[in-house]
């Protein structure tokens, strides 16, 4: 448990504060992500917590400030960005061998040498343990730094941009490791710059903007307010398709020369629509677009402001339709606007949302996208009516803790194994003729699936034991669960 209260740092008198009155908690068993742009004050906040910089505010680690902890390396593992930023950060002297380096640090921490070898195994560095550090890649350096931070068997991890500048595989490994650390009862506080990473990794997202805390949200709420899915469509007859999509109630904006960015409608539906109307498509791919940071001066804790007036005009009909759907799903909606019927221009009642409750047509069954579907369900209604949104997220919120514990892999790959990046599996009947006969292909499709599948298998083989134990149900067996392997 880390309690952060009123962290403030002003470098010069009169200058804008680097960090101003940042207050939040990082709870055990959760990954808390400190999100912010470059210069938002994430690293400074972290250094303030560790009292590496002078400033105001109090940070209590299990009730004690950092300097009062007798053996801090035994309680808190710290991974700050070392000398050189990002990819050039090194773990130690380049002339030293990995094993020697870790054993040396083990001696400083006061743990037996065996522990260093264990950690090399755990961070998948044992194969290169006898290599000098100058031959290491940034990812290996970062893993070695993590191993060094874990030497003292800490229950809390503080990491400053651990995945910055790393390859996707290393990022994935870091995510899975941090998640399993948290699942085993550890407290994890990570900083990151990319909202998408925050959404993948966090249980709770704390957003900083220019040193001020602008949002402190659970991840579901974060996904709802800060990330919105979009479909990139490319082809020669985009104007026609855009008209049709607008009629369907989608939000369409031009994206490059012959491209559209479509929001509010599913990828498969766009494909079907295009096929039915004989429109040639060159690209059809899902992607996630980040919403701007809420620039509210006073700290907003609920975080659902800043999006109210964004996408009203082009979409009123569609939104109200969704509100209607939600009104039927969740009875406790306190909305004032009367639900207007859907415009008659809609040619066929296509399922605009995969799991829209009131939809008459059976939706496309997609086996592994529950998480995504949950997000989708949470995303849309917010923009129209924030009041309804709160009730909409409630089930997601209550469902979140159980869902987080059980399938760690699923959760991890939730946003990466999007339908576009996945090779069409056998049980997907609804993707019928259109998908097969039309030249619907995304650029990423040929390369990504194999890569993701491989990395997923890799991950599984690596963490089988850990995940097996986690999924078996006895979630936080001991706080040392993840470390005893």
């Amino acid at each position: 448990m880390i309690q952060i209260t009123g962290l403030t740092k002003v470098r010069h008198k009169g200058a804008p504060p680097i960090v101003l009155d940042v207050t939040f908690d990082a709870r055990p068993g959760m990954v808390t992500v400190l999100l912010g742009d470059e210069g938002a004050g994430k690293s400074t906040a972290l250094r303030l917590m560790l009292e590496l910089e002078r400033g105001q505010g109090v940070t209590l680690f299990d009730g004690r400030p950092y300097r009062r902890i007798r053996r801090p390396e035994r309680q808190i593992g710290v991974l700050l960005s070392g000398p050189g930023d990002g990819a050039t950060a090194v773990a130690g002297n380049p002339g030293r061998k990995a094993r020697g380096h870790l054993r040396m640090l083990a001696a400083a921490v006061g743990v037996p040498v065996r522990r260093a070898d264990e950690l090399l195994e755990q961070t998948r560095l044992s194969a290169v343990a006898e290599q000098r550090l100058r031959t290491f890649s940034p990812g290996m350096h970062r893993r070695l730094s993590l191993a060094a931070a874990l030497l003292g068997d800490p229950g809390t991890l503080l990491l400053d941009a651990p995945t910055e500048g790393l390859s996707p595989r290393n990022v994935e490994w870091f995510h899975s490791f941090l998640r399993s650390f948290a699942v085993a009862g550890g407290t994890v506080l990570v900083t990151t710059r990319t909202p998408r990473e925050a959404a993948q990794l966090a249980d709770r997202v704390v957003t900083l903007d220019r040193g001020r805390l602008v949002a402190d949200q659970p991840v579901a709420e974060f996904c709802r307010t800060r990330l919105s899915p979009e479909v990139a469509v490319r082809g020669p007859q985009m104007a026609r398709l855009a008209d049709m999509l607008v009629n369907q109630g989608a939000r369409v904006r031009p994206d490059g020369g012959a491209g559209l960015a479509v929001a509010g409608i599913d990828r498969t539906e766009i494909g079907e629509l295009a096929y039915r109307n004989g429109i040639l498509l060159h690209e059809l791919a899902d992607r996630v677009v980040e919403q701007p940071v809420p620039r509210a001066a006073p700290p907003v804790t609920s975080g659902n402001s800043g999006h109210l007036g964004l996408q009203r005009d082009s979409e009123a009909a569609h939104e109200t339709a969704q509100e209607m759907a939600h009104a039927s799903a969740h009875t406790s909606v306190t909305e004032a606007t009367p639900p207007t019927p859907e415009p008659s221009a809609t040619p066929a009642p296509l399922p605009t949302l995969p799991d829209r409750p009131a939809s008459a047509v059976p939706t496309v069954p997609e086996p592994a996208t529950e998480g995504r579907a949950r997000d989708d369900a949470a995303v849309r209604p917010t923009r129209a009516l924030p009041v309804a949104a709160v009730t909409a997220v409630l089930p997601a919120l209550t469902a979140a803790p159980q869902a987080d514990h059980a399938p760690a892999v699923d959760r991890l790959l939730r946003n990466q194994l999007t339908p576009a990046a996945r090779p069409t599996p056998a049980p997907e009947p609804a993707r019928t003729e259109p998908a097969r006969t039309e030249p619907v292909r995304s650029d990423a499709a040929p390369t990504q699936p194999s890569q993701y599948r491989e990395s997923a298998a890799d991950l599984l083989s690596d963490d089988t034991v850990r995940l097996g134990r986690v999924t078996a149900g006895k979630t936080p067996a001991t706080p040392d669960d993840h470390r005893s392997e």
């Binding site: 590496l52 801090p72 710290v78 773990a91 002297n93 020697g100 640090l105 400083a108």
Partner: protein
């Protein structure tokens, strides 16, 4: 204790440590052999013998072993600053002070060992390389040698063999007249150089700057001490002159220009002259205090 173990592992795990030590020993042996080959015929004077054994050449401000030990000390701190292994959050003030002491404690014995090995290797090298015409006084009468050795052994409570076999002939170089004291001083000088290296590097946070400062210190210190001694009317002790490749900073730098007035300063004061000791100890203590004070102001090593 943990910091001591850390420092030991740190020093051992670096290739540069071993390379540096090997290079120092190699330089020593080569220089000693070359110097011995150039020794003039006739009995070898004690100061010349000491210079041969310590491989001191007037080109560098310190003997090789002392320079190497100083470099080792400076690197032991400089590496830590350049490639920090310990997380910044772990190096609190007391941790830093403990690390500094651990470095001094580890580097000191290493330097002493280096000096001893240097003397041993040089003894062998000189023994092999000395031209036929040169005679070593202690060498020519083995009785005197064995007397000395048994006397030394008896002093520490051991009964040594009455007469030593000829194998120990090289040792005679070491136990020449007044030579043991000078060699002891050589070992001390090496250790002090190593410590100075650690401290100067900790002051400047850079190994290179630390080594430069270390090289600049002896001439500065020496000229300072020489000035002090002149003012108090004491001559510069002979032993110190034997030990160092130069006699005092000023004379080292300018003496040869004026035709060399080296003997003028050389007197007969003992190495244990309190004024000399104080003059050497004060800068060392000042350096240590400065290093500790600077650490207070710092946030990292």
């Amino acid at each position: 204790m943990r910091d001591l173990a850390y420092e030991l592992r740190r020093l051992r795990g670096l290739r540069s440590t071993w390379l540096l030590l090997a290079a120092v020993l190699l330089c020593d042996v080569v220089v000693a052999a070359v110097l011995a080959g150039q020794a003039p015929a006739g009995p070898l004077a004690a100061p010349a013998g000491v210079r041969l054994l310590t491989a001191a050449v007037p080109l560098i401000p310190l003997p090789f072993a002392a320079l190497g030990a100083g470099l080792l000390g400076a690197l032991s701190y400089g590496h830590e600053v350049r490639h920090p292994g310990l997380a910044a959050s772990q190096v609190t003030y007391f941790r830093r002070v403990r690390l500094l002491l651990a470095k001094l404690l580890v580097v000191g014995p290493v330097a002493a060992l280096l000096a001893l090995v240097t003397v041993l290797l040089d003894t062998v090298a000189v023994h092999l390389a000395l031209p036929a015409g040169v005679t070593v006084p202690a060498w020519t009468d083995p009785e005197a040698l064995s007397d000395r050795v048994s006397e030394a052994l008896g002093a520490v409570g051991l009964g040594g063999p009455a007469d030593l076999p000829g194998v120990f002939a090289p040792v005679a170089l070491v136990v020449g007249h007044g030579v043991p004291a000078a060699l002891l001083a050589f070992v001390l000088l090496t250790v002090v150089a190593a410590w100075t290296g650690v401290l100067t590097a900790s002051l400047t946070r850079s190994a290179a700057a630390g080594v430069l400062l270390l090289c600049a210190l002896p001439p500065l210190l020496e000229s300072g001490v020489a000035l002090l001694l002149r003012r108090t009317g004491r001559p510069w002790p002979t032993r110190a002159a034997e030990l160092l490749p130069f006699q005092s900073g000023i004379e080292w730098a300018y003496g040869w220009v004026y035709g060399g007035a080296r003997e003028a300063a050389a007197g007969s004061a003992a190495l244990t002259d309190p004024a000399l000791l104080a003059a050497v100890a004060v800068p060392a203590v000042a350096l240590m205090l400065a290093a500790l004070l600077v650490q207070v102001r710092r946030r990292s090593l």
